[in-house]
């Protein structure tokens, strides 16, 4: 900390335009974090797998979907962070106070299941990424799990946030891998700008999968909690909005390059894959060993990153909704449910991944289905809350924000139902 200011100081008489800009930038850096981190955690093991599959099986056909997805993501995450800034409360707190204990309880059970499925996928991601580097999962998973647990229990939110922000930079490895492939840019551009829809079940399921993995229920809870924890004020909110926008664009740029990499190599050679590990391994002969390593490194980072946030976010949201003590700065006996839930999710997911023949694909699919069931409720609750003038005052949704919000939520709800119902067709 700097030397203490000596009062009285000469008054800063006129602030120039430039220094106003500087102040803006400073405020931006003080509120940056929640949006970018949430969006990047979104590119987790499940996300990378889905994007790899989309690229490998459908080539560039799904690239266009990233543009509407980005817009929808911005729209939804903006609403949730506005809720957080104005109310000062987390999302499950607001849902409990507004919709009562019953709905909250069952919603939280859904959230635990879907986040748990995601956590399993993250540890599986750690295992497969390290296997590409030749490390056994019986070593990498316990070490990764301990690292995650230790970082959160022993660190403070601020220091953890800094680690996470640095981790976001590692996603560049996917962009590097994509550029090294040297794709044909003009055709990419036209594929991105021209929507392409096939009315076939597996195409629609893939499309829904890409959307579902990018817009997931935990994200609203996490970003709102992070923004509340950061204590962002309403005067600073317009800077926090940029945090959300930058994050949402970043996540989709990374997704774009993952799809491109797989489309240019695996799709063109007609290789079918099932997991992100398959993708990385199949890349080696086609795009060179280093590209495969870049891919694997990105997967490792993404999995570790998401594995540290998902269990924490789950414990946080559930305890907040149920009114149990929360906080990484409390002792275990003071917040038993919080630590219990957090530790349990980490250890059970690790345990499942370490089983010799664990059904990763099935678990991930199940968690996607629960995802699809939980998301509509959360989005609808969010829309109701953000329109509550008693709660939001002048910051409630305007008419156009509502039109866009309702349209976006309706499409997402529809697609979620498609995904849930798809096995019956």
């Amino acid at each position: 900390m700097s030397a203490r200011a000596v009062l009285p100081r000469p008054p800063a008489a006129t602030r120039s335009w430039l220094s106003a800009r500087w102040r803006g930038l400073l405020i931006f850096f003080s509120v940056v974090g929640p949006g970018i981190i949430t969006a990047n955690v979104d590119n987790d093991a499940g996300g990378i797998t889905t994007y790899s599959l989309a690229g490998a099986h459908y080539g560039q056909a799904l690239l266009w979907s990233l543009i509407p997805i980005t817009l929808a993501l911005i729209l939804i995450q903006e609403m949730t962070s506005r809720l957080g800034v104005v109310s000062g409360q987390g999302l499950s707190d607001l849902i409990r106070e507004r919709f009562g204990v019953k709905i909250t309880f069952y919603l939280m059970i859904g959230l635990i299941i879907t986040n748990f499925g995601n956590a399993v996928a993250e540890f599986a991601g750690i295992a497969s990424a390290m296997e590409i580097f030749g490390v056994s999962k019986y070593l990498s998973v316990p070490v990764g799990g301990f690292l995650v647990w230790w970082m959160v229990v022993k660190g403070s939110y601020r220091s953890v946030e800094k680690i996470f922000l640095v981790a976001c930079v590692v996603y560049i490895s996917y962009i590097v891998a994509g550029i090294k492939i040297a794709p044909h840019w003009p055709s990419l551009l036209s594929a991105t700008l021209r929507p392409h829809l096939e009315l076939k079940t597996d195409f629609l399921v893939m499309l829904t999968g890409v959307i579902g993995t990018t817009i997931a229920p935990w994200m609203q809870f996490y970003q709102q909690a992070a923004i509340v924890e950061k204590g962002v004020r309403i005067e600073e909110y317009r800077y926090a909005r940029w945090d959300t926008i930058i994050g949402s664009v970043m996540v989709n740029v990374v997704a774009f390059f993952i799809i491109v990499t797989c489309a240019e190599t695996l799709f063109k050679s007609g290789i079918r894959i099932e997991t992100a590990k398959d993708a990385a391994l199949a890349l080696a002969p086609l795009a060179g060993k280093y590209n495969a390593y870049l891919f694997a490194f990105g997967l490792l980072n993404a999995s570790l990153f998401a594995a540290s946030i998902l269990p924490l976010s789950t414990a946080y949201s559930v305890c907040e909704g149920m009114g149990w003590e929360i906080g990484v700065n409390k002792k275990f006996t003071e917040a038993p449910q919080f630590y219990g839930l957090y530790t349990l999710i980490i250890f059970i997911s690790m345990g499942i991944v370490l089983l010799p023949d664990f059904p990763l694909i099935k678990i991930m699919y199940l968690s996607q289905v629960v995802n699809g069931l939980v998301l509509p409720f959360i989005l609808v609750f969010m829309l109701v809350l953000v329109n509550d003038r008693e709660l939001m005052g002048e910051h409630a949704n305007g008419r156009w924000a509502n039109v866009a919000g309702v349209a976006c939520v309706s499409i997402l709800v529809l697609l979620s139902l498609v995904l849930v119902a798809s096995p019956f067709f």
Binding site: A3, A5, L7, G88, K102, G231, M322, E390
Partner: protein, 418 residues
């Protein structure tokens, strides 16, 4: 006879004479200004129709599965809950409250009411697992399961209303209203300032601000002294300047200086201008020292005496100043130019005969630090001599302030492993 709110909400409201169905209670209204709030009515809703107010006076009886009423409360009229009433749903149920008995923030699962002949009163709030399962409708099943499997009975976790501080509800965005309670209902008074600080830190920013703003300046200052600088700044910046000035004016000078140095210049300047001249000069003086020096952590709230005082006179002075001073165990003796010439302990003062002069009593070999020395030098002296307070002088030996053990602890504690 005790009854839970969940049980009341499950009853049908019917006309006493024609037994027509009027709906179900959706909210309970009680008189917040009583120590154990008496129920004054219910909000009742039938299907999708807007809820109507059912005053207590129109209730004939509360039966096992129904509430019988007279008259026609459902007809649209002027009947509305009295202003300032406690609304169970809006203020308490599913909301966070402060349990001042356990000194923590909890969420309310159910309310526990006592039915006496003519009245129904709110006695406890239920914050436990059994309340949660009762709300979910699983309590009998869970109880049977627990008894059958583990021979364990879920315990009730009830908190008496006198230990409950509700946190109000949101009015317009951010303007949380704190519910006006009975004058003898002051649960927060039971909290130690350190507990109050912890509870405040557990609340979200709006609740924290609202509750903090409702405290008296003395209580607020005590709590504020126990908080992190960052939270202090948030709270002070979030409140009106006048109130902020009063709160900072009640803080110990060293804590006030620490806080003001973190505030925006203009705000800090305004607060200083609003304070009593003598205090604000002391604080300004403290602000000139570097943060990591002895001068930066000292306080000016010490008891200063003159060599020619008698023991009697000294005790009279002490009676006046003890309230403000950080430490009354060591009394510092200064000459006309405010040089520190000796120190008298409270013990030696009490055992001495009343007419003796301080010059004879005081010990003249005083261990001091100078304002410019690093604060770790002070910490070392504390470790070596086991003092409770240490005088701080400037280069010429003029007494400037004292450092108490907690000032040192505050700066050393973050380095301890948590």
């Amino acid at each position: 006879m005790f009854v839970y709110l969940t049980e009341l909400f499950a009853k049908n409201v019917r006309g006493a004479d024609d037994r027509r169905l009027l709906g179900r209670p959706v909210d309970l209204i009680a008189n917040a200004e009583e120590l154990y709030p008496a129920v004054v009515g219910f909000m009742v809703r039938h299907g999708r129709r807007p809820p109507f107010y059912l005053p207590w006076s129109q209730i004939v009886s509360i039966e096992n599965s129904e509430i019988l009423v007279r008259g026609r409360p459902e007809t649209p009229g002027d009947a509305a809950p009295p202003e300032g009433s406690l609304h169970a749903r809006r203020h308490v149920l599913d909301r966070q409250i402060i349990d001042t008995f356990g000194a923590r923030v909890v969420r309310v699962n159910d309310l526990h009411l006592l039915r006496m002949e003519e009245s129904l009163r709110l006695i406890h709030v239920d914050v436990g697992a059994s309340g949660l399962f009762r709300r979910l409708g699983w309590l009998p099943a869970v109880n049977a399961l627990m008894r059958g499997l583990f021979d364990y009975q879920l315990r009730e976790h009830l908190i008496a209303w006198k230990f409950v501080q509700p946190l109000g509800h949101f009015g317009r965005a951010g303007q949380r209203q704190v519910l006006r309670l009975s004058d003898s209902h002051k649960p927060l008074d039971q909290l130690h300032p350190a507990e109050l600080a912890e509870v405040l830190e557990d609340l979200d920013i709006h609740k924290r601000q609202a509750l903090f703003g409702s405290l008296t300046p003395e209580v607020a200052a005590d709590a504020l002294e126990q908080m992190d600088t960052e939270d202090q700044v948030d709270l002070i910046e979030g409140m009106g300047e006048e109130h902020a000035t009063r709160v900072v004016g009640e803080m110990a000078t060293d804590d006030a200086a620490d806080l003001l140095s973190e505030l925006e210049e203009e705000k800090a300047e305004n607060i200083l201008d609003g304070m009593e001249t003598e205090r604000s000069e002391e604080v300004r003086e403290l602000l000139t020292h570097e943060e990591d020096t002895a001068g930066g952590i000292m306080t000016t709230d010490f008891v200063a005496l003159k060599t020619n005082y008698t023991v009697d006179q000294t005790i009279a002075v002490l009676r006046q100043e003890a309230r403000e001073a950080e430490n009354v165990y060591y009394l510092y003796v200064l000459d006309e130019l405010e040089h520190l010439v000796g120190v008298v302990t409270l013990r030696s003062l009490i055992v001495a005969s009343p007419e003796r002069r301080l010059a004879d009593l005081m010990s003249t070999r005083v261990i001091t630090v100078t304002t410019g020395e690093h604060r770790s030098a002070a910490a070392e002296l504390f470790a070596k001599y086991r003092f409770r307070a240490l005088p701080v002088v400037d280069e010429s030996g003029v007494m400037k302030g004292i450092i108490t053990i907690d000032d040192v602890l505050e700066h050393v504690a973050p380095e301890l492993n948590r």
